[in-house]
Structures are given as structure tokens and as C-alpha cells.
Symmetry: C2
């Protein structure tokens, strides 16, 4: 049977150090602790109830996203992350950051100077200053809805657009819709590109024809609808998929302005399933990203990265919340 | 400040139960423990050093794959999984399973009867009996290189083929190769389809032309080369990418039989980077899947699923180990 002494001999350290590693003392380095634990497993050491040090810190950086109130998009993501991290005795600090904040300090210097083991970046856009540093960061980092190429320290988390668009289009198909439009978010973002690809794949899968007059890149705003809905109606579409719920609310308003009823004349589906969907008139059918789960999932991927496992792309399941903004296709 | 009593009141349970949940006693259910911990975080409770119960069990089922000796493909995957699980005080049982084993007992009955919290399935093929049960399983389950649609209890782990093929083709491009063939694994598997797609994407990215005479689906064997290498040579290719290392060893033999030298006449790249690559003549350049990391990564995804987070597709980073089977393109 493997003893502490065997492990010490193999690693060329003292039994005291091995004992500290196995018992979670915090006066040895995290990398030595990992080495001891992994060698212990490799050698078949079987002591149970491994302890961990109490002083470990993770950081969530948030940009361009509200998170303070329960209805805010970011609230549940942060809560989910903290819930999962709490079980592993991590301290979690939440820091809202502006462009200025990022320009004033380098990401790695900030993290290392404060002894933070890993970071989660939410709401960052390609032109955020820290995004240019991430291809070279040495700090385990998870990006929500963004992807960094080739750097093994960075992982990406998002929901599965192919699945989400698939659920939405299958639901519309079951209601008899064939001419389905997609009003996407702004061009140039990873998410918009993924959703557009997923729309086309799923339309193809059902054998539904579409032209470039069935799709448009807009913005995540109520105003996007005004520009594109009339064109969709011109080509005879009977349902409009939207890349978030705000776009969908705008689409419903625009339909109404044009004298069309939702869902009697046009079915509308949103994306995200924010709390406002339920109380909207009509209540909005929406592709659900469970934000508590998204937050937890960001933690699990970050935890893997902190442990030296280079997870890169990770997708969370979606579901479809069916409400009253979708109905059977109108026979003309 | 939030107290144990506050949490108890909110959940409608006794303070004793909350205390047990926070201290990892094992006479309350895992779901009650989770509820207590998550409510504690939601209410801002800040006690540190959460403990966990000692009696938790995970299971690895392995089919069609050697894992007993250090050189076996499965050895490091299992070791990595155990190393990561050990830190969280999990018991890990490894069970080799045959078709018969699966036919005799249902997966869910087996898992629930033995109180196993989650399972990892390695080496399973689409015709394995348990694969038909997985779309409906209620047990958190991770599949290595396989994907189950729509069931939120199942997650998938594999390495990033797009990245791996990208690294291989970029390396060949830097050596002047333009006419690159790809000898894939058997048709009908998810991995083969992903790798073929990744080959085409990356050839397109570099602007390298290819026809269907540049690619073939074979088998994971030394024999695959005999059937396809002569055809590749006929159309003038200068490098052959292979979907695993065994195929690549066969390709090198076949080139030699045809009087061609590797890498002087033809460059060859394998996939997986098994230990034998290093001692082969010539040592084989190969896309590396770090199997220790793959094993750990399977654990992290399973751990998320056990905690109710429905991660679906998860990709691990790859790297390229450059050895002597690749060289500059021969000017003709």
C-alpha cells in the first residue's frame, strides 16, 4: 500500500510537504499541491476526504451588461457562478470594467498582482482592450460568448445555437410554417454568425426554401424591426425568428403597426427567454438560455482551466419555452 | 448578516438540516444539500470551507479500448479522470463492458441500484446496446467522442478536430505543401465526419484545391493505406494526413513499398500522438490529444452534469508534435 513516504520519495520532497499537499495546507504552492495529489492517485494512494486551502480567489469582469437587479440579464449568470464556486470554497469578486479601466492596467498584471487564480469575462466585445491581450494571457480565463484562438489558457462558454434554432424551427414546422424569416443581431459578432449558420442548417434540414430576403442582420434593439419586417412581409413569410427577446418585442410592435396580429397572422419567436417574455402581450415564445446554468457552467470550465485542462469550446443545452406568440400558420 | 436560521426559514426546514447541508453530513440527500448551499449563496451567507460527504461514486465504462498498461490508449484517460476526481473525494470504479453485459442490464438500473452519481462511457459505438438507452437516461453521463441529442443528462467530450486539422495543414503549408490528401477513419462515425469537415474547411482557408480523389474513408488499421495511397500518389499529392497514428504507420510502410521516402518524397502526419510515434522510423509528426487532459476534462464535464448543469458539447485543445515524418515539399 502506498504511503506518504513513498510519494515523498518519488517526488524528491519531504514527507511533511506531501502531508501538507494532501491536507490542503496553504503554505505550499498550488502547483506543488497539484503535483502531490496527482502523484498520489498515480501511485494508488487511497486516503479519502482531501481538503483544500481556504484562500482561493476568482474574478468576474463584467462589461456592457446589467447585473444588479434580479431581472437584469447578468444577475442569474453571476448567481449561478457564485453558487457553483461556493461549493469549492472560492472567493468570487465581481468587477464592472470600462474601456478606460482596461487601458489603464494590463489583464495579467491585474490578476497576478491580486493573486487571482482565474477570470470570467462577460459582455466583452472584440474592440475591448483586454481582448487584444487574451491571446497571450497566462491566467486561466473563460469568455462568455467569445472565443480566443490557440491560447490554451482561454476557454469559451455559450449556449448551443444549432440546438436552439433547431428547437424553434421544429416548433414552427409543427404549426405548419414553411416561410420562416430570421432577424439576427449585428453583423461581425461570433454569436450572430453562429445563429445565422444554425438557421440555414435547420431550414435545410426541414427542406424549407429561403432566400437572402428571408434574413437580415440588425441590432439588439426594438428599432431593428422597422427596417426589416416590411421586407419579410413582402416576400410572404409567416413566422419571424429573432436573435433576442428585445428584437422580438420590436417585431411584434411593428407587425401591429402594419395591421397584422401575432400569432394569428405572423408567429414570432425570441431568444434568451428573459423575465419580460412572460408578461408581454402576447406572452413571447422564446429559446431559453438558463442563465443560472450558464453561470455555473462558466465556473466548471474555469475550474478545469485552473487545473491545467485546456477546454476550449463548451456549449450549454437550450430549451424552448412555448407561449402565445406562436400559432398555426394562417391558410391564405 | 445571513444566519443558518434565515436559510432554514426560507427553505422551511430545520436549522439542523441546514447545518448538515453546510457541513457535508451524509445523512441528507444530495439534492437537499445542493438546495441549502445554493440558497446560502443567494442570501449572501459567507461561511468558508464547505465540506462534502465522503461517500460519492462515479463509474467509467470502457468498451473496445485497452487501458491496463501505460502504453494503452485508455490508460492516461482513466488516470486523468481519477486524478481530477480524487481532488473532490470521489470514488471511481472502472468497469469494462461487453455487448452482453449491456444487454443483460439496463444502464439506469445498474447505476441507480449501485448508487452511482454519474458515468463516463469510453469507446462505445453507435450499435452498443446502452447507446439506445442514453437518449432517455436520468443519470448524468459523459460520452467520449459521441453525442446524444436533446437529453440534458448527457454531455460530450472530444478534442477540437477543426483546430487539430488546422495545425496539421498550417504546418504542411509552411513546408510548401499544397496538394494534401486526407485518409480518414471509417465512414458513419461522428469523429470521421468532423475530421473530414475540418480538412475541407482548412484546405479552403489556405486556398488549396482538392478533389474527391484527395480524400478517403478507410479503417483504423495498418491495412487502410494499401487501398488508398497509390491513388493519392497518382493525383500528385505531396503529403498525407491520417485520422490516427496506426493509419499513418501503414501509410509510411506503403510509401516505402512503392519506393517513396518519408519525408523526402511524401510527408505524413498522424493523429493522437500515441507513445509509439516517438520510436517509429521515421518518428511520426502527429496531432496530439493529451489523454491525461482528456480524462480530466471528462471529469469536469461529468461533475457539472452531476450538479445539474447541462453542458452538451465540449472540446479540448489539440497541439501538433512535429517530428521527422514531415519535411519541405520536393521540387519536381
Amino acid at each position: 500500500m502506498t504511503t506518504i513516504k513513498d510519494i515523498a520519495t518519488k517526488l524528491g520532497v519531504s514527507s511533511g510537504t506531501v502531508s501538507k499537499g494532501l491536507n490542503g495546507a496553504d503554505d505550499i504552492s498550488e502547483s506543488m499541491r497539484n503535483k502531490i495529489l496527482e502523484t498520489a492517485v498515480e501511485m494508488g494512494y487511497t486516503k479519502k476526504g482531501i481538503h483544500r486551502p481556504d484562500t482561493r480567489k476568482l474574478c468576474i469582469f463584467i462589461e456592457n451588461m446589467d447585473y444588479y437587479l434580479e431581472d437584469d440579464f447578468g444577475y442569474d449568470i453571476l448567481l449561478g457562478f457564485k453558487q457553483a464556486a461556493f461549493k469549492e470554497s472560492w472567493d468570487v469578486e465581481v468587477i464592472p470594467v470600462s474601456h478606460d479601466f482596461q487601458i489603464k492596467r494590463s489583464y495579467d498584471t491585474f490578476m497576478m498582482g491580486r493573486n487571482i487564480s482565474g477570470g470570467l469575462l462577460i459582455g466583452f466585445e472584440l474592440n475591448d482592450p483586454w481582448m487584444k491581450e487574451l491571446p497571450y494571457t497566462k491566467v486561466p480565463t473563460v469568455l462568455f460568448d467569445n472565443y480566443i484562438e490557440e491560447n490554451t489558457m482561454c476557454g469559451s462558454v455559450g449556449s448551443d445555437s444549432e440546438e436552439g434554432m433547431g428547437l424553434a424551427i421544429a416548433h414552427l414546422a409543427s404549426l405548419g410554417h414553411r416561410k420562416i424569416a430570421f432577424l439576427d443581431g449585428p453583423t461581425g459578432s461570433m454569436i450572430s454568425a453562429n445563429r445565422m449558420k444554425a438557421y440555414k442548417q435547420n431550414m435545410d434540414k426541414h427542406g424549407f426554401a429561403y432566400s437572402n430576403r428571408f434574413t437580415a442582420y440588425g441590432s439588439y434593439s426594438l428599432e431593428a424591426a422597422k427596417e426589416f419586417v416590411p421586407g419579410f412581409i413582402d416576400v410572404g413569410i409567416t413566422a419571424i425568428l429573432c436573435s433576442n427577446d428585445t428584437i422580438a418585442f420590436g417585431v411584434i410592435e411593428e407587425c401591429r403597426r402594419m395591421g397584422l396580429s401575432v400569432p394569428e397572422d405572423i408567429s414570432v419567436i425570441g431568444y434568451d427567454d428573459v423575465p419580460a417574455c412572460e408578461s408581454y402581450d402576447p406572452p413571447l415564445t422564446s429559446v431559453r438560455q438558463d442563465r443560472i446554468q450558464l453561470g455555473k457552467c462558466c465556473y466548471y470550465v474555469l475550474y478545469a482551466l485552473v487545473n491545467g485542462v485546456s477546454l476550449s469550446r463548451n456549449l450549454l443545452r437550450t430549451s424552448l419555452t412555448v407561449r402565445e406568440s406562436t400559432g398555426p400558420v394562417k391558410s391564405r
